[in-house]
Amino acid sequence: MKKSLLGALALVLLTALPAFAADSIKLGFNIPMTGDIPDVGESSKNSAEMLKKKINDAGGVDIGGKKYVLEFIYEDNESKAESALSAARKLITQDKVLGIIGPQSSKQAVPAGEASNELKAPMISPWSTNPNTTKARPFVFRGCFLDTFQGPVAAKFATEEYGAKKAAVLYDIASDYPKGLAEDFKAAFEKLNGPGSVVAFETFTTKDVDFSAQLTNIAKSGAEVLFTPQYYNEVPLIVKQAKSMGFTKPIMGSDSWGSGDLMGLCGDDCKGLSFVTHYAAAGAKGKTKEFIDEYTTLYKKTPDDVAALTWDSINLMLDGAKRMGPITGDMEKDRDALRKAMTATKDFDGITGKMSFNPEGDHDPVKCAVVVKIDPEGKFGFYKSVCPN
């Protein structure tokens, strides 16, 4: 009994040894592989795997004079806030990752960001646009623009493009991102068109599928455009039901439209609609086009904005890692060094734009938005670019 116990102990130690001997750095991924928006998790993982293969095939990433192989650990946050929180904690305390990429949607990113900040591990969210994710959190970064920028862009587009003086909004009140963006849009639209110009401000809860009562109110209100900042699994239902309620005015959306199988679920009903997003694959040039071609060859589909932003965010973190100095092995010191290096990022040339972080204040890069229009073939076409002045 004692001999076999000793033997088992020796075996365990032997198998554990190689983990300490390999020169690798671990990055964690907190992504929604199941739940409401699994396509977002799939895009993130695809992008990450493509980058990992590229870097590891070239020998790894150079930190402090030594080459380190990348090791990615994926955790599924099931599109739920509590799961995102426990996934973040597991990655930081158990898997001892250097930094975390994700969560993607604000509902998970806001609480996970609090955990990361508390446990002093750098986290970057590629896709979360709600300001609360990075607010007063020195360890949390983001790779995209804010809703306080997106709201006014959407409001301006609605006013100019459709000549709309009255707008309606339909959003999920139980989720941070749609709620924040709906309020930002309302404030911006009313600034442009006068108070009360948002004539219908309707809500529903996550997982609702029937919007007939809300859409009846919206059709009755006389709104000239409907803004609905929802995810790809809800938009097709909203658009189809709006049509059957007799609402014939334009419907527009936000960056959450661009990810996932929107056209597969929506079909013809979504053709001709527009939304604000981070990048448009059509008409891309240079490094962006290279990324799109590689991704399309490998995964047989065009990368969405989540894939592009994840690529940029991982590269942002690795860029910081290259500048952080040698890895000491003390997790706390290394994570803090990574944070310092990432905060000092200036003019990082990503495929979705040039990014810098502000050393004072929240780590939100200044980026341009792109308005995409869905063409008659169902492809996302570039319509115009809006940059902050």
Partner: protein, 307 residues
Amino acid sequence: MLQSFIQNIFNALQWGSFYSLIALGYCLVYGVLLLINFAHGDIFMVGAYIAFYVCMLFLGKLGIIPGMPGWLVLALAVPLTMMLTAVVGVTLERVAYRPLRRKGVNRLYVVITALMCGLILEHANLALLGASRRSFPTLIPTTVYNIAGVNITNIKMGVILVAILAFFFLRFVVVKTKIGMAMRAISYDRFAVPLMGIPADSVIVFTFVLGSGFAGLAGLLFAITYPVLDPYMGALIGWKAFIAAVVGGIGSIRGAFAGGFLLGFVEIMVVAFFPSTLRDLIAFTILLLILSVKPTGLFGVARRTKI
């Protein structure tokens, strides 16, 4: 004003139809076995997925047989979905509930087993078919009829009609047929019935066939109306339909229908007249008030222990 009110009445009738069809399954099984089949919402989800694959097969999208016109696919899909979903329900009964019944365990254990079966169905779907949403193919193109300012689609009318027909069919089966009489007999005294020479097990299987068949039908109609399918779609609707069945009076068919349509009406009308953020709060407060005034539900029968 009147227009949007009538519009909302139709919205409520359609939404209530789904709750009614599912509440029916709860009520039938409860009536016969005094068991609350918590897996029922997930049987509804399985029905929707079965409908999805049946329609994809007959539309020729799976490449096995050439495609057929939409209306024919719908005509074939209805009986096929109901039968296949009934098979799922009966399998659940054979595998999970009957062994426990034989052992004569406390009904509470069977209820917990039912809950577990529901979870197994959800997660098996997730594991086998993946997390991605499925888009239900269009069988009959939606035509919007505008009658005096009220917009109604052909699908909406179809759903409401089917729910009403289902109610009359089930009333007929339970009240006018021999097997319906056997079902009512079992609900009065389960142990005396076999003594009278009635095969109790066959009647119970028939009950599950009916309940699951209608859940399958509800799944098909739901998939046609809201064509985005996901593995967890049955959970929330199942729970709400259960609440509707309890408020209507669990064990009574009229109760299940009344409860389903009542919940549908309350949810839709609250959004129509109050800010839509207060929907769930007001809807469940109203249900709570109804239960506190009449604890057995609207058409329910008083019993010493319900679970």
